[in-house]
């Protein structure tokens, strides 16, 4: 049995472990340990094969497998094109994948992804979706989307807890030396240079979705080394700068600096800068995080959505032109029996690692391996509070991070609604960056709710000594395969490129096809796969 001190030390780092002496183990009244349906999911791994009864077969031209952002976006695109003859099958009871959200009373809060940045004017499909949602109100004369004020992250946006006091911003500037600040401004200047760089075809070097960016060899070369080694080569040594950049890598990729590709590390900063003069594209967020987009998409697609369906097998046809030749077998959780679909086209909107488990003879037929697709594990806690904790320094922001902690800090779900007093829900994020994905997933399953709750509160107590007395509930979500890892060589390597090519009648859509986990990427692939299907049907 691992001791509490060792647990804190290994998962949170030194600073939290040193806290133990003063913080008793006080567990809040209640909470739950949640996670994607692991038991059912693992039946996939065991190649569950079931035969539906004769009456349980349906013919539906298009089947979307997976109800995360990629699958929902594919459905949205099909519907937009006037095509309604499809169903979307989702294992969980709730749609949205890692963009899902929760609701308790009048409080909404994210369960994972919680923001997007204002799309560049080139990203028309996403702008279209945001217009439909009323998030983009207008398009300016030069084509730039105008986002409604209340969907832009309200000031103050972010703060960092460093040396016992909160300061504005994400960079731990409190107590930084002149050299630290000098290196920080060099780094900013470098990112701004990358943001402005265009290739021979006039494409940005770094852009979201990444498919709209450049594949120029100078950019791609960055993918061959780690962010750490690239930064070392620039002559940067400031621990604060490393921490700041690593925070970005942990935040978006769940990776430490030495395992993040330099290309991905730079993308995090440069892809969101429109011009050199502007810091970064404005953040768009909602109390429910990206769950707000999920709510919109699911309300649009309500006729086509089927939840609680474990897709166990997809069998491609012998002859691609055979009508309704592709079969999809799913296990209906509620009825506890298999059902079958015959379809012309399937959009496989699940992570790649599931393809060999679900698609019959996938590896043999395509010659592809999914071994290169590695995923980070995450833990997300929603901490329900009866009031706001004590503060020292800059006031509560949307995003609140703790310098030195291995957690990513927390976002405040009530921030965007303008609700500044009383009860709130803090969403706390923790990426497993220190250990291998496999070990992380084992750890995720090993620890109990009380261990996690203890850990979450120990981390928050660093900045808010009184928080334990305010907590009414801690719910914990375990994400085993939360984010694709852009480790060096992966994003621009062969496996990722090959994975997006359709396997006959089966089209692929998932954020992992971009090598990074972002709503913008998942949306892009959903739309792309839907377009492929529409094109195939038209011909």
């Amino acid at each position: 049995m691992i001791s509490r001190r060792d647990l804190f030390h290994s998962l949170l780092g030194i600073s939290a472990a040193s806290m133990i002496g003063c913080g008793p183990r006080v567990i809040p009244l209640q909470g739950e340990l949640l996670g994607p349906d692991i038991g059912l999911g693992h039946r996939l791994r065991d190649r569950l094969s079931l035969v539906p009864a004769h009456a349980d077969w349906q013919e539906i031209p298009v089947i979307i497998v997976g109800g995360g952002i990629a699958g929902l976006s594919a459905g949205w695109r099909l519907q937009q094109a006037g095509f309604h003859d499809f169903v979307l099958l989702e294992l969980e009871d709730q749609f949205g994948g890692t963009s899902r959200s929760g609701i308790t009373g009048s409080f909404q809060y994210p369960w994972a992804a919680h923001y997007i940045t204002t799309p560049m004017k080139e990203n028309m499909p996403l702008i279209q979706l945001l217009q439909e949602m009323g998030v983009v109100e207008d398009i300016s004369a030069d084509g730039v989307p105008v986002v409604a004020e209340h969907y832009l992250c309200r000031e103050p946006e972010e703060r960092i807890f460093c040396d016992g006091v909160w300061n504005e911003g994400l960079y731990p500037g409190h107590g930084a030396s002149r050299d630290d600040l000098q290196q920080k401004s060099e780094f900013d200047a470098s990112m701004s240079t990358w943001a402005q760089k265009r290739d021979a075809q006039g494409r940005r070097f770094f852009s979201l979705p990444i498919a709209t960016g450049s594949d120029d060899s100078e950019a791609i070369a960055l993918d061959n080394e780690s962010m750490l080694s690239w930064m070392n080569r620039q002559g940067w040594t400031s621990p604060r700068l490393f921490w700041y950049v690593e925070y970005g890598c942990r935040d978006d990729y769940g990776l430490p600096l030495d395992r993040t590709s330099a290309w991905a590390g730079i993308l995090y900063f440069a892809a969101r800068m429109r011009t050199a003069s502007k810091d970064s594209q404005d953040v768009i967020t909602w109390p429910s995080g990206n769950g707000h987009i999920v709510q919109h998409l699911t309300s649009r697609l309500s006729d086509q959505l089927r939840s609680g369906q474990l897709v166990c097998q997809i069998v491609p046809p012998h002859n691609q032109d055979e009508p309704f030749g592709t079969t999809v077998v799913a296990y209906n959780k509620q009825r506890q029996q298999p059902i079958g679909f015959r379809a012309d086209r399937v959009i496989f909107a699940l992570p790649q690692f599931l393809a060999p488990h679900v698609i019959q003879d996938f590896s043999v037929r395509t010659g592809r391996s999914t071994a290169d697709f590695q995923y980070s594990s995450w833990l997300v806690a929603n901490v329900h509070l009866r009031g706001r904790p004590q503060e020292n320094g800059f006031p509560l922001c949307w995003d609140n991070i703790l310098y030195g902690s291995k957690s990513l800090g927390y976002v405040v779900s009530t921030h965007q609604s303008g609700n500044d007093y009383g009860p709130s829900v803090f969403t706390w994020y923790y990426p497993f960056t220190d250990i291998s994905p496999m070990q992380s997933r084992e750890k995720l399953l090993q620890l109990r709710w009380a261990d996690w709750a203890d850990l979450v509160l120990a981390d928050l107590s660093l900045a808010h000594p009184d928080i334990r007395s305010l907590v009414t509930r801690v719910d914990i979500m375990r994400w085993g395969h939360a984010m694709i890892q852009p480790y060096p060589g992966f994003v621009w390597g062969p496996a990722r490129k090959a994975a997006a090519i359709p396997d006959g009648t089966i089209h692929f859509a998932n954020t992992d096809l971009s090598g990074i986990a972002l709503l913008e990427e998942a949306f892009y692939h959903g739309v792309r796969a839907a377009d492929e299907v529409l094109l195939a049907r038209a011909s």
Partner: protein
């Protein structure tokens, strides 16, 4: 048997209980005159009730026939507890209860009865050891010395340095210690049954009051009094803000988070200038909305219009609106605004409230605190003003308090420009308020409107500051208050808070 040495200690006992008794009485009188105003009446009533209650106590003492020492100590303990908590309880309770006077006089009466019981009992205890003449002379001497001590130390030492709450708790502790000490002093007169428990109870009461004494730091601090520049007569920490009322030679002042909200001496200038321009549109206003303004002083001005049918006041903090009703000097200052049946109080963050559907208004008065924090800054954003527009009748006028255009011109014009950016027609104006300096306002409407409001014919009741000519002059901007450009205040930039911070910091 009590020997000679403890006998003189017993006189000390008399001195202590006499001091405590009078302190409780003075506390009640002072507290009542703070909270209810009119100190002559309050002191007179408190003294009257207290003295008559002492008479009742003295009369009741005849029914105690045995166990005199035991009863004496029990009474001391009861007195310690009731007297000790009297000021904190009265302070904490008065904004929230309708029976403050019964509570106040109930406490004064109980304290009086207990004090009235003390001396007769003590004298009966001592009569075994002294002849009657000595007894009366010595006990009464120490009693009067105690009274002298209390009445001198109370205003000179205790009120200025400890405040009412801590003085109350301190004397409660003293009283409980006297009780504890008496268990030893009068040991020969006490049966040993339950003696230990009695001592523990005395220690427990002392401890309880001691905890209160140290916790009372959260109620008032001397540093705060110095910062606010006046004698603090009431403070509280609500979940939203720190509320403090101070008193100076002339009038009293309200502070929220250390910022002056009004001075009773000249607040009429501010509130007349804030309210009447918005009420003097083409149509007599029937439905009016006030946001902020939990002091009820803007309400007072609105109630001067007989056309008024309903008035909604949205203020974040129930502690503030309750105080305005229950703190008698303020209730008097706002003419009992919150007792008017047309007035409806909504305790909610105006930003949340304005986003909900609801009726439209003929006139809106915006009386938020200055935008010194993000949570107030959001109430001056384009988002807020756009939501507000949905709650306005087409010709409705809105007046907004906009901080000082002289001290913080960028902040002032930022509010004006932000109003304009949302489609409002805006007329800036200003008024001199001695406690604040030159103060800035904005009058806004979605319809074109004349900058000079109509004459005051429809105002019923006295105006002390505004006349038709003065009102016209408020809209004339002097050379040092001329318009300037500014960023627009939005939720995602909070430009106003940044302007305000830099401008007021510079001026401090």
């Amino acid at each position: 048997m009590i020997n000679r040495a403890p006998l003189s200690l017993l006189y000390l006992n008399v001195l202590a209980i006499a001091t405590c008794g009078l302190i409780y009485e003075l506390l009640a009188g002072t507290l009542a005159s703070y909270v209810l105003g009119d100190s002559v009446t309050q002191f007179s009533f408190v003294i009257g009730v207290y003295l008559s209650a002492m008479g009742v106590g003295a009369w009741l003492s005849q029914y105690i026939l045995s166990n005199l020492a035991r009863y004496f100590i029990e009474i001391e303990l009861a007195l310690a507890l009731i007297g000790g908590v009297s000021a904190p309880v009265l302070f904490l309770a008065f904004p929230w209860i309708d029976w403050f006077r019964p509570l106040l006089f109930g406490m004064v009466f109980s304290i009086g009865v207990l004090v009235g019981l003390e001396l007769p009992l003590l004298m009966r205890i001592l009569k075994e050891y002294l002849d009657f003449g000595d007894l009366v002379s010595r006990v009464l001497t120490f009693d009067y010395i105690g009274a002298l001590l209390a009445s001198l130390l109370f205003p000179i030492l205790f009120v200025p340095y400890l405040g009412l709450v801590r003085t109350s708790l301190l004397f409660g502790m003293l009283n409980a210690l006297v009780a504890w000490w008496s268990t030893y002093l009068m040991r020969p007169l006490l049966s040993s049954r339950g003696l230990e428990r009695l001592r523990w109870r005395a220690i427990f009461v002392t401890f309880l009051l001691g905890v209160g004494f140290f916790k009372a730091d959260q109620l008032t601090t001397l540093a705060e009094e110095k910062a606010l520049g006046g004698k603090i007569i009431y403070t509280t920490h609500s979940p939203y803000q720190r509320i403090a009322i101070t008193q100076k030679m002339l009038g009293f002042q309200l502070f929220l988070n250390g910022h002056l909200q009004f001075n009773s001496v000249d607040e009429y200038r501010y509130h007349e200038a804030l309210v009447h321009p918005a009420m003097l549109g083409n149509e007599p206003p029937r439905h009016v909305l006030i946001m902020g303004g939990g002091d009820g002083l803007a309400v007072r001005e609105c109630l001067k219009y007989s056309s008024l049918e309903s008035l909604s006041l949205v203020d974040l903090d129930p502690a503030m609106t309750q105080l305005s009703k229950k703190f008698e000097p303020l209730n008097r200052l706002n003419h009992g605004a919150f007792s008017d049946p047309r007035v409806k109080v909504i305790n909610e963050d105006a930003f949340i409230w304005i986003g909900k559907p609801g009726p439209q208004y003929d006139a809106v008065i915006i009386d938020f605190p200055d935008p010194g924090s993000y949570s107030v800054g959001k109430l001056y954003t384009t988002r807020f003003f756009r939501l507000l527009q949905k709650r306005l009748k087409p010709a409705a006028l809105v007046s907004v308090q906009c901080t000082s255009p002289l001290v913080a011109p960028k902040s002032y014009w930022c509010i004006v420009r932000t109003l304009e950016a949302t489609g409002f027609h805006v007329r800036p104006y200003h008024a001199p308020v001695p406690s604040f300096g030159i103060w800035g306002f904005a009058l806004a409407s979605m319809s074109e409107f004349d900058s000079t409001p109509l004459p005051f014919d429809r105002v019923q009741g006295e105006l002390r500051f505004l006349t038709n000519d003065v009102l016209k002059g408020l809209f004339e901007l002097p050379a040092d208050l001329q318009p300037m450009d500014s960023e627009i205040n939005r939720l995602d930039n909070q430009a106003l808070v940044h302007y305000y911070d830099s401008e007021w910091n510079r001026s401090d």
